[in-house]
Amino acid sequence: MTAEGLVLAEEETAMTAPEPVALGRGRIVLRRFLRRKLAVTGLVILVLMFALAFIGPYLTSWNYKDQDYNNFLTGPSATHWFGTTQIGSDVYAQTMRGLQKSLIIGLLAAVLSTGLAGIVGATAGYFGGWTDRVLMWFVDLLLVLPSFLILAITSPLFHGRTWLLFVILLAAFNWMVTARMVRGLARSLREREFVTAAEVMGVHPLRIITRHLLPNMASLLIIDATLNVGGTIIAETSLSYFGFGVQPPDVSLGTIIADGTDSALNYPWLFYPAGILLILTVMAVAFVGDGLRDAMDDAAGTAASTSTSGGAA
């Protein structure tokens, strides 16, 4: 038990003169977040990564599709910052393009999958009964098949189509664990008295879900979406590594690493830039997510945080 916890527990009902409204939850979360060094570092790195991914390509004259027939497998130089590949592609341009692709795919898929998880989980958890059983059984079924397996098997389906299809599939097979979590939370929220109070007032179930359940799970969903960005980036690059994801001529960090793997010992520039950027990005996301969780958990006041105040003690 932390000291703060102990005192706050004692004080639970003793709050009289509250902080002004202007200093609302958002500000408290922000303040606590900014106090965590790792989280702030993560945020800075993430911002830099986005900047690099979207501004980086314009800093060099090379396009990721270009080939320099005078330079095959040359090391980093003034013309080719990260060197060139066997066929004379500029590694810097490719890496920037790959980073961009991985970031966009990760972000989109994560938001989509968390949204889906929120809807399915909240519905199952709130309504319970058969709705719950059917949905959760479906979730169990999907959990039996690792998403990597399904996506690999279905990869021929989106060859030659838009990468957005890939994003949708990535999201479609990545929401189950979160949905289970959301459902658990929705079930416990459903038992909370403020939901009961709304029910006996005659508030419509859909309105209860949108107005009471989802806002109270917001912190969980935000944290989950953040951490999912890292997860989907890993999933995307893993699939792309085997050629099941982003298809040539387009590149992702995964395909670049795959191409560089065999020559990693002798031509390290083919492998390390993409590898390091990938690790940095995912780690930055993880730090931000972790920092958000700590900040939001501490700021409490959400129904999502575990306990209610005990008796009169």
């Binding site: 038990m1 932390t2 916890g5 790792l38 169990d140 079924l141 959990l143 039996v144 098949l145 690792p146 998403s147 990597f148 397996l149 399904i150 690999a152 098997i153 279905t154 990869s155 021929p156 389906l157 664990v177 890292g230 890993i234 690059t237 893993s238 590594y241 085997f242 050629g243 099941f244 995964g254 690493i257 795959a258 793997t261 990693a264 010992l265 492998f271 590898g275 990938l278 690790i279 995912v282 780690m283 996301v285 993880a286 730090f287 972790d290």
Partner: protein, 326 residues
């Protein structure tokens, strides 16, 4: 307990059946074996391709439901069909299963043990340097996809071997080809080969378990019953282990089931990168070869393993937590 297990197993059997069927249907509608033959040089005549495809139950001109029915009939009798190169899927699976299981087993057990220990240390030394170090390292590992981790380990091993001037740690294949000597020599050789690939799986497991164990442990650190134990005069260390760790292990049982899918994904990369001829390697190659039946076999294998993990975690949960027994 018996009745409970029985119901669980029945539920699992249904899930395995459905998952495998789903896997087959997805593979059959997504992969195109015809292309595999059509791309051969010189292109074989269409009639002979059709004949081969029919014989393998892979002809896309046959309605999907008929192919499925044919495949399902075989599976019920224990016949998983033919690979695209006309060998028995079951036989190939028999050869490869052991390889994958060995990796999975060693990876899980070592990973879980190391992870639980690290998580415990991390939690009781919260916000101290040791906690920061463990946290940072586990984030680093968790942020590194297995393929990258495996490649980095491979490079590292090469460097070590170079420095040692001898092949201290072999990193390709399961055994040294053409090795002579007694059974002991063979055993050591296999053990040596196992180290680096297992490490590539174990690190991720350990990192994951350490994070979860840390937070489970932090949850119980503030628990009233630890305070009670301390109030009876128990010292901090014993109280944390006997009351804290013991209780914080309970949620780990659930994690065990959840991480199996991740582990099976990881093993695919490990096998490919370290040249182990297991199920994962076969799966990736089979997709390249448009080999529907082999892919379906991998789905079956995965589903069974995941559900065995689920069953084991249920049992572990019941053993650890008296509240869910009976």
């Amino acid at each position: 307990m018996g009745a409970f297990l029985l119901r669980r197993i029945v539920n699992y059997l249904v899930l395995i059946t459905l998952a495998t069927c789903l896997g087959y249907l997805l593979a059959a509608s997504s992969l195109s074996p015809r292309e595999y033959f059509a791309q051969r040089q010189p292109p074989p005549p269409v009639a002979s391709v059709n004949a081969t495809l029919n014989q393998l139950n892979l002809n896309d001109k046959t309605p999907l439901e008929d192919r499925f029915a044919h495949w399902a009939k075989g599976v019920v009798t224990g016949d998983l069909g033919k690979t695209i190169d006309d060998t028995s899927v079951s036989a190939e699976m028999g050869r490869r299963m052991g390889v994958t299981l060995r990796l999975v087993l060693f990876g899980t057990i070592s990973g879980a043990l190391v992870g639980v220990a690290l998580g415990f240390v991390s939690a009781i030394r919260q916000y101290r340097p040791s906690d920061h170090t463990i946290t940072f390292l586990s984030f680093l590992v968790l942020s590194t996809p297995v393929f990258l981790l495996a490649v980095l380990l491979k490079i590292g091993t090469v460097k070590i071997n170079q420095a040692a001037g001898t092949t201290l740690l072999p990193y390709t294949n399961e055994t040294t080809a053409g090795l002579t000597g007694g059974w002991f020599r063979h055993l050591v050789d296999r053990g040596q080969h196992l180290v680096v690939p297992t490490l590539s799986l174990m690190l991720g497991q350990a990192a994951l378990f350490s994070r979860y164990q840390r937070s489970a442990m932090l949850d119980v650190l503030g628990a009233d019953y630890i305070r009670t134990a301390r109030a009876t005069g128990m010292r901090r260390g014993p109280a944390l282990v006997k009351h804290g760790l013991r209780t914080a292990l309970i949620p780990m049982a659930t994690l065990f089931a959840y991480q199996m899918g991740m582990l099976l994904t990881g093993v695919t990369f490990t096998e490919k990168i370290f040249g182990w001829h297991g199920m994962g390697e076969w799966f990736v190659d089979s997709i390249g070869r448009q080999d529907v039946n082999a892919v379906a076999a991998m789905v079956l294998f995965t589903a069974v393993l995941i559900l065995i993990a689920g069953l084991l975690s249920d049992i572990a949960h019941a053993l650890l937590d008296p509240r869910v027994r009976d």
